[in-house]
Amino acid sequence: MAIEVRIPTILRTYTNGEKAVPGEGATLSEVIDHLESNHPGIKDRLIEGDGLRRFVNVYVNDEDVRFTGGLETSVSDGDEVVVLPAVAGGS
Protein backbone atom coordinates (compact mmCIF):
# COMPACT_ATOMS: atom_id res chain seq x y z
CA MET A 1 0.00 0.00 0.00
CA ALA A 2 1.38 3.37 -0.96
CA ILE A 3 0.99 6.82 0.48
CA GLU A 4 -1.82 8.82 -1.12
CA VAL A 5 -1.16 12.48 -1.77
CA ARG A 6 -4.27 14.60 -2.40
CA ILE A 7 -3.62 17.51 -4.75
CA PRO A 8 -5.66 20.75 -4.68
CA THR A 9 -7.25 22.10 -7.88
CA ILE A 10 -4.68 24.86 -8.29
CA LEU A 11 -1.77 22.37 -8.41
CA ARG A 12 -3.40 19.78 -10.67
CA THR A 13 -1.69 21.40 -13.64
CA TYR A 14 1.39 19.55 -12.34
CA THR A 15 -0.39 16.19 -12.06
CA ASN A 16 -2.23 16.06 -15.39
CA GLY A 17 -5.44 16.89 -13.60
CA GLU A 18 -5.12 14.02 -11.11
CA LYS A 19 -6.76 14.71 -7.75
CA ALA A 20 -4.54 12.20 -5.97
CA VAL A 21 -1.16 10.71 -6.76
CA PRO A 22 0.89 7.97 -5.08
CA GLY A 23 3.66 9.10 -2.76
CA GLU A 24 6.82 7.57 -1.35
CA GLY A 25 9.07 8.47 1.56
CA ALA A 26 9.55 8.16 5.30
CA THR A 27 9.06 11.87 6.02
CA LEU A 28 6.94 14.62 4.50
CA SER A 29 10.14 16.11 3.12
CA GLU A 30 10.92 12.87 1.26
CA VAL A 31 7.34 12.60 0.01
CA ILE A 32 7.62 16.12 -1.45
CA ASP A 33 10.97 15.30 -3.10
CA HIS A 34 9.43 12.18 -4.63
CA LEU A 35 6.46 14.26 -5.79
CA GLU A 36 8.86 16.71 -7.42
CA SER A 37 10.63 13.89 -9.32
CA ASN A 38 7.32 12.86 -10.89
CA HIS A 39 5.80 16.34 -11.20
CA PRO A 40 8.60 18.88 -11.69
CA GLY A 41 7.84 22.35 -10.37
CA ILE A 42 5.38 21.32 -7.69
CA LYS A 43 7.92 21.50 -4.84
CA ASP A 44 8.44 25.22 -5.30
CA ARG A 45 4.70 25.74 -4.81
CA LEU A 46 4.88 24.01 -1.43
CA ILE A 47 8.26 24.92 0.01
CA GLU A 48 9.93 28.24 0.68
CA GLY A 49 13.43 28.18 2.14
CA ASP A 50 13.58 25.41 4.76
CA GLY A 51 9.89 25.08 5.41
CA LEU A 52 6.40 24.92 4.06
CA ARG A 53 5.03 28.08 2.53
CA ARG A 54 3.02 30.17 4.99
CA PHE A 55 -0.21 29.82 3.02
CA VAL A 56 0.03 26.13 2.18
CA ASN A 57 -1.52 23.66 4.62
CA VAL A 58 -0.42 20.02 4.67
CA TYR A 59 -2.13 17.34 6.73
CA VAL A 60 -0.94 13.79 7.37
CA ASN A 61 -3.90 11.60 8.38
CA ASP A 62 -5.92 14.75 9.15
CA GLU A 63 -3.23 16.26 11.42
CA ASP A 64 -1.88 19.67 10.45
CA VAL A 65 1.86 19.03 10.07
CA ARG A 66 2.63 22.39 11.70
CA PHE A 67 1.88 20.59 14.97
CA THR A 68 3.59 17.29 14.15
CA GLY A 69 7.11 18.28 13.10
CA GLY A 70 6.59 20.10 9.81
CA LEU A 71 8.61 18.65 6.95
CA GLU A 72 10.13 16.07 9.33
CA THR A 73 6.69 14.59 10.10
CA SER A 74 6.98 10.85 9.60
CA VAL A 75 4.85 9.19 6.97
CA SER A 76 4.29 5.52 6.30
CA ASP A 77 2.49 3.25 3.85
CA GLY A 78 -1.26 3.70 3.90
CA ASP A 79 -1.03 7.28 5.14
CA GLU A 80 -2.94 10.06 3.47
CA VAL A 81 -1.25 13.39 2.80
CA VAL A 82 -3.60 16.28 1.97
CA VAL A 83 -2.35 19.56 0.50
CA LEU A 84 -4.68 22.56 0.75
CA PRO A 85 -3.86 26.18 -0.01
CA ALA A 86 -5.03 28.52 2.74
CA VAL A 87 -8.23 30.40 2.01
CA ALA A 88 -7.07 33.81 3.11
CA GLY A 89 -6.70 37.43 2.16
CA GLY A 90 -6.66 40.91 3.53
CA SER A 91 -7.74 44.42 2.76
Binding site: V82, A86, V87, G89, G90
Partner: protein
Protein backbone atom coordinates in the same frame (compact mmCIF):
# COMPACT_ATOMS: atom_id res chain seq x y z
CA UNK B 1 -21.85 36.23 -14.36
CA UNK B 2 -22.67 35.04 -10.88
CA UNK B 3 -26.21 33.84 -10.31
CA UNK B 4 -27.05 33.75 -6.62
CA UNK B 5 -30.22 33.15 -4.64
CA UNK B 6 -31.60 36.07 -2.65
CA UNK B 7 -31.46 33.96 0.52
CA UNK B 8 -27.75 33.20 -0.02
CA UNK B 9 -27.03 36.85 -0.82
CA UNK B 10 -28.80 37.88 2.38
CA UNK B 11 -26.89 35.28 4.42
CA UNK B 12 -23.53 36.58 3.19
CA UNK B 13 -24.51 40.20 3.95
CA UNK B 14 -25.84 39.25 7.41
CA UNK B 15 -22.61 37.41 8.25
CA UNK B 16 -20.50 40.39 7.15
CA UNK B 17 -22.59 42.80 9.26
CA UNK B 18 -22.50 40.52 12.29
CA UNK B 19 -18.70 40.15 12.28
CA UNK B 20 -17.96 43.83 11.53
CA UNK B 21 -15.47 45.39 12.40
CA UNK B 22 -13.63 42.09 11.78
CA UNK B 23 -13.61 40.55 8.33
CA UNK B 24 -16.12 37.74 7.80
CA UNK B 25 -15.51 34.83 5.44
CA UNK B 26 -17.06 31.67 4.11
CA UNK B 27 -18.00 29.64 1.07
CA UNK B 28 -21.07 28.63 -0.87
CA UNK B 29 -20.57 25.11 -2.15
CA UNK B 30 -22.25 23.50 -5.13
CA UNK B 31 -22.02 20.37 -7.25
CA UNK B 32 -18.67 20.12 -9.02
CA UNK B 33 -18.76 21.82 -12.41
CA UNK B 34 -22.33 23.08 -11.94
CA UNK B 35 -21.52 26.73 -11.13
CA UNK B 36 -24.51 26.62 -8.76
CA UNK B 37 -23.90 28.16 -5.33
CA UNK B 38 -26.28 26.02 -3.26
CA UNK B 39 -24.92 25.37 0.22
CA UNK B 40 -23.99 28.39 2.38
CA UNK B 41 -21.23 27.70 4.89
CA UNK B 42 -20.08 30.53 7.17
CA UNK B 43 -16.48 30.02 8.30
CA UNK B 44 -14.64 31.35 11.33
CA UNK B 45 -12.03 33.98 10.56
CA UNK B 46 -9.07 32.50 12.45
CA UNK B 47 -7.28 35.84 12.14
CA UNK B 48 -10.11 37.72 13.96
CA UNK B 49 -8.90 40.88 12.27
CA UNK B 50 -10.36 43.98 10.61
CA UNK B 51 -7.75 43.72 7.85
CA UNK B 52 -7.16 40.00 7.30
CA UNK B 53 -9.05 36.75 7.03
CA UNK B 54 -7.97 33.15 7.01
CA UNK B 55 -10.02 29.97 7.39
CA UNK B 56 -8.87 27.99 10.42
CA UNK B 57 -6.59 25.18 9.15
CA UNK B 58 -8.54 22.38 10.86
CA UNK B 59 -11.89 23.81 9.68
CA UNK B 60 -10.46 24.09 6.18
CA UNK B 61 -9.61 20.38 6.06
CA UNK B 62 -13.03 19.44 7.42
CA UNK B 63 -14.74 21.66 4.83
CA UNK B 64 -12.80 20.24 1.89
CA UNK B 65 -13.27 16.63 3.01
CA UNK B 66 -16.99 17.25 3.34
CA UNK B 67 -17.21 18.88 -0.09
CA UNK B 68 -15.15 16.03 -1.56
CA UNK B 69 -17.49 13.42 -0.08
CA UNK B 70 -20.47 15.25 -1.59
CA UNK B 71 -18.81 15.87 -5.00
CA UNK B 72 -18.96 19.60 -4.35
CA UNK B 73 -16.57 22.46 -4.87
CA UNK B 74 -16.45 26.01 -3.54
CA UNK B 75 -18.58 27.90 -6.08
CA UNK B 76 -18.34 31.14 -4.08
CA UNK B 77 -15.60 32.19 -1.68
CA UNK B 78 -16.69 35.33 0.12
CA UNK B 79 -15.16 37.75 2.58
CA UNK B 80 -15.78 41.27 3.77
CA UNK B 81 -13.74 44.44 3.77
CA UNK B 82 -14.67 46.56 6.73
CA UNK B 83 -13.02 49.91 5.89
CA UNK B 84 -12.36 49.72 2.15
CA UNK B 85 -14.32 49.07 -1.01
CA UNK B 86 -15.49 45.63 -2.14
CA UNK B 87 -12.56 45.13 -4.49
CA UNK B 88 -9.85 42.44 -4.14
CA UNK B 89 -6.73 43.73 -2.41
CA UNK B 90 -3.24 42.77 -3.53
CA UNK B 91 -3.19 40.17 -0.75
CA UNK B 92 -6.54 38.78 -1.90
CA UNK B 93 -5.23 38.41 -5.43
CA UNK B 94 -1.90 36.93 -4.34
CA UNK B 95 -3.58 34.27 -2.20
CA UNK B 96 -6.51 33.40 -4.47
CA UNK B 97 -6.16 29.69 -5.14
CA UNK B 98 -9.50 28.55 -6.54
CA UNK B 99 -9.54 29.36 -10.26
CA UNK B 100 -13.10 28.00 -10.62
CA UNK B 101 -14.58 30.06 -7.79
CA UNK B 102 -16.45 33.34 -7.81
CA UNK B 103 -14.72 35.59 -5.28
CA UNK B 104 -17.45 37.65 -3.64
CA UNK B 105 -16.51 40.76 -1.66
CA UNK B 106 -18.77 42.70 0.64
CA UNK B 107 -17.92 46.10 2.08
CA UNK B 108 -19.40 46.99 5.45
CA UNK B 109 -17.64 50.35 5.64
CA UNK B 110 -20.86 52.39 5.21
CA UNK B 111 -23.13 50.90 7.87
CA UNK B 112 -21.03 48.50 9.94
CA UNK B 113 -23.26 46.28 12.08
CA UNK B 114 -26.36 48.38 11.33
CA UNK B 115 -29.07 47.97 8.72
CA UNK B 116 -28.51 49.62 5.41
CA UNK B 117 -27.33 48.62 1.99
CA UNK B 118 -23.91 47.08 1.49
CA UNK B 119 -21.75 46.85 -1.56
CA UNK B 120 -21.50 43.24 -2.82
CA UNK B 121 -19.41 42.52 -5.92
CA UNK B 122 -18.08 39.39 -7.58
CA UNK B 123 -14.82 38.59 -9.34
CA UNK B 124 -12.86 35.86 -11.01
CA UNK B 125 -9.24 35.81 -9.88
CA UNK B 126 -7.04 33.67 -12.12
CA UNK B 127 -3.24 33.79 -12.23
CA UNK B 128 -3.21 37.20 -10.60
CA UNK B 129 -5.75 38.70 -13.03
CA UNK B 130 -8.96 40.14 -11.56
CA UNK B 131 -12.11 40.25 -13.68
CA UNK B 132 -15.28 41.73 -12.24
CA UNK B 133 -18.55 40.08 -13.25
CA UNK B 134 -22.25 40.91 -12.99
CA UNK B 135 -24.23 39.55 -10.07
CA UNK B 136 -27.75 38.33 -10.77
CA UNK B 137 -29.87 37.87 -7.66
CA UNK B 138 -32.75 35.42 -8.17
CA UNK B 139 -35.46 33.88 -6.00
CA UNK B 140 -34.39 30.38 -7.04
CA UNK B 141 -31.46 29.13 -9.10
CA UNK B 142 -32.43 27.93 -12.55
CA UNK B 143 -33.35 24.25 -12.47
CA UNK B 144 -30.78 21.86 -13.87
CA UNK B 145 -31.23 21.22 -17.57
Amino acid sequence: MLEIKQATYDAIVAHAKKDHPDEACGVVAGPEGSDRPERFIAMVNAATSPTFYEFDAADLLKLYKEMDARDEEPVIIYHSHTATEAYPSRTDVGLASEPNAHYVLVSTREHGNSDGPVELRSYRIIDGAVTEEDVSVVDELRSLA
